[in-house]
Symmetry: C2
Subunit: 410 residues, 2 copies
């Protein structure tokens, strides 16, 4: 029984143990989407360039294409003179070539004409009718990007598991990759607890709580490229919870049961997860604060991951962020890479921790320092304005102002 | 004529100048959406709590509710004994009160019964039938969150302009704010240049480029809560560009013209922006690298912002990120708050800059250090794997390994 957790597992070990027991990576469902529809999703296969990019030698500057040899020795006091033989049109091949003693007007992105091997910038030359005065020597390749220099045909543009977002949009669209294969990882979200009512409930009866966890989890899942499916709220009845879990397991690869707060509700959840096919319940409680009453379970043959998450919204959020996200990453890639970035910065205020347990608290970045946000009285406000989490490893107690703390930025 | 930019403006000054000239903030269109649909959007008004949260005094632990006075002096060697008078049901009001010498079983989230003012944790007590042995004194308020302690009715939950995302989902749904008013800021995206072809074009003719900027900008706009509208590709014809711009201006508050690379295309764009109603073209070129050929224009009476962005995808991306995003933020809030987080970290490798110009280059975070990503040969790959940008102010040239650099994290 996990209600009163007695067997806490170290977080990193819990993740590794689940990855090994469930034999990650799994083959996951995927689908082909055009770039706009794929936004925010995760690539289910590495993307390889179908062609050289740029597809031709091109100028990176506005200037004149020339043979670099013709500029050798040129300087402001001893300029060279070339004949302007034409202008490179944008969007098509120049119909002429550049001969010794000649140059051609070229714009940024223009195709380098035959005979030219460099571009002199407008700033370093002076046009006078048919003549161009050159005041600086240029080297072969100067102000040019050669065909395939950005990436060659067949080279890897993005790895499997990478998100399709504002960062990868450029490389995909430039290479003409107009559609991509992305994972379809449905995450079922199931809220439990007799005290939980839908978020839309206008007035609460004493003792009731709105289902904040469903929104937090849905939003977090979408943010990380997963597809949340909400299965509503279950009372503290084994029969109802069992039916809802099985329904969710039919449709989803991952099911999250955000726990009722009571001991009996948590016992109910852990008893249910124990009854799952092998390996069943793997981790009952994690040595972290908040987030202790986190359960990890799974079915290897059926390829399903099930987690019991704490009822308190911040604990639920934290368990999903620090345990579920690395697990799902390992589920499709085999690697337990974290989705957050870690930095070490001085803290602006004291952080009070306890030794023997890994602790997290929300923080803001302010003037290059970490500003811990008070949690006790208002987790929701703290999280709403946080830039990330301060992590105190189990070995660390109080941290004084100006001492460095580990920060996970989201 | 901005094609060959001669009048470069400092980036910060350019933003301030535009904000002042256009008389930001503007009243922007907004709409009411339910929480799930509003995800990623920006609040158009501050959100105030409709009620106290939590709506009742509740336990933050599994344990027993009691009057703290009954525990005074209790210790493991000298325990106190109380009678268990009942169990607080989850989701409703306890029907009993706790009298002197009594206690009641309570679960996390349970309503504190009348007569009780503290909760003793399960770990610090031992149940034997009707009796509870108490091994530790508890103080008034211990393990309790009082009504309104997270936030009181009428208090500000989120400020105007804040995004609806995984961080704010918790506070909004817990407070029962099931729908919110969000800005509807349409950003028209217009690509120009005879050499630009749609991203879907399978094989390029020499000199052609796919319209990567439209995807980069759309994705970046959505990521920051704005609504991109794509108006396609315009050749280098004044008439066509003018018609497309006017069409976009009818429907959008912001229009981005991602520039043709040639001098003539850029001249065309700046001539067009000069012809707009007052104040028209405000900034023709910014003292930053990349991103120099950035134009800022606007129409004050009509409340329209127009920007000419560079043609090179990284320059375009950077101008949108470092200039457009702060401008849009000021447009709806009046404040030029940046959407990125700034940290100072040692660089793992040398960064070569030039004095006299603000420079940006993509970087990754690796073991607490900034790892600059080589840009020359592959901007697209560099951006695709970057965690943010290194910023070298105009006064900074080369930075040696282990020296701190300014990093803008996205």
């Amino acid at each position: 029984m996990a209600g009163f957790v007695r067997e806490l597992t170290d977080r990193s070990f819990a993740i590794e143990y689940a990855v090994a027991s469930l034999d990650f990576p799994w083959r996951m469902t995927n689908e082909t989407l055009d770039l706009a529809s794929a936004e925010g999703r995760l690539l289910s296969e590495r993307v390889v360039s179908p062609e050289d990019f740029p597809p031709f030698d091109r100028s990176t500057r506005d200037g004149y294409a020339l043979s670099s040899e013709d500029s050798y020795g040129a300087s402001a006091s001893n300029p060279a003179f070339l004949t302007v033989c034409g202008e490179v049109p944008m969007g098509s091949l120049p119909s002429f070539s550049v001969k010794t003693g000649e140059c051609a007007l070229i714009h940024t992105g223009g195709v380098l004409p035959a005979g030219a091997d460099a571009v002199i910038m407008l700033e370093n030359s002076e046009r006078a009718g048919k003549w161009l005065e050159i005041r600086k020597a240029v080297q072969m390749g100067e102000n040019i990007v050669f065909r395939g220099e950005e990436f060659a045909s067949g080279s890897v543009l993005l790895e499997k598991g990478a998100p399709v977002d504002f960062r990868s949009a450029g490389i995909l669209s430039a290479a003409g990759v107009a559609s991509v294969r992305v994972f379809q990882i449905k995450v079922g979200i199931l809220s439990t607890g007799d005290e939980i009512v839908p978020c839309e409930t206008p007035a609460l009866h004493p003792g009731q709580f709105r289902d904040a966890n469903a929104y937090i989890l849905s939003s977090l899942m979408r943010r990380h490229g997963l597809q949340p499916v909400y299965y509503g709220i279950c009372g503290d009845s084994r029969k109802a919870l069992e039916a809802a879990l099985h329904h969710a397991l039919e449709e989803c690869s991952v099911v999250l049961i955000s726990g009722g707060s009571s001991v009996s509700a948590r016992d109910l959840c852990s008893t249910l997860l124990e009854s799952l096919p092998a390996p069943g319940l793997l981790v009952r409680g994690i040595l972290m604060s908040p987030g202790k009453p986190t359960l990890i379970a799974g079915m290897k043959a059926e390829r399903k991951l099930v987690m019991g998450l704490p009822g308190h919204p911040f604990s639920c959020y934290l368990a999903a962020y620090t345990v579920l996200l690395p697990l799902v990453h390992a589920m499709h890639t085999g690697k337990t890479v974290s989705p957050w970035k870690t930095v070490f910065l001085p803290t602006a205020e004291s952080v009070f921790g306890h030794s023997g347990i890994e602790e997290f608290l929300p923080c803001r970045l302010s003037e290059g320092k970490a500003l811990p946000l008070p949690m006790k009285s208002s987790f929701a406000k703290a999280v709403g304005s946080a830039d990330g989490l301060i992590r105190l490893p189990a070995s660390r107690e109080t941290v004084r102002p100006e001492e460095e703390v580990e920060i996970w930025l989201w």
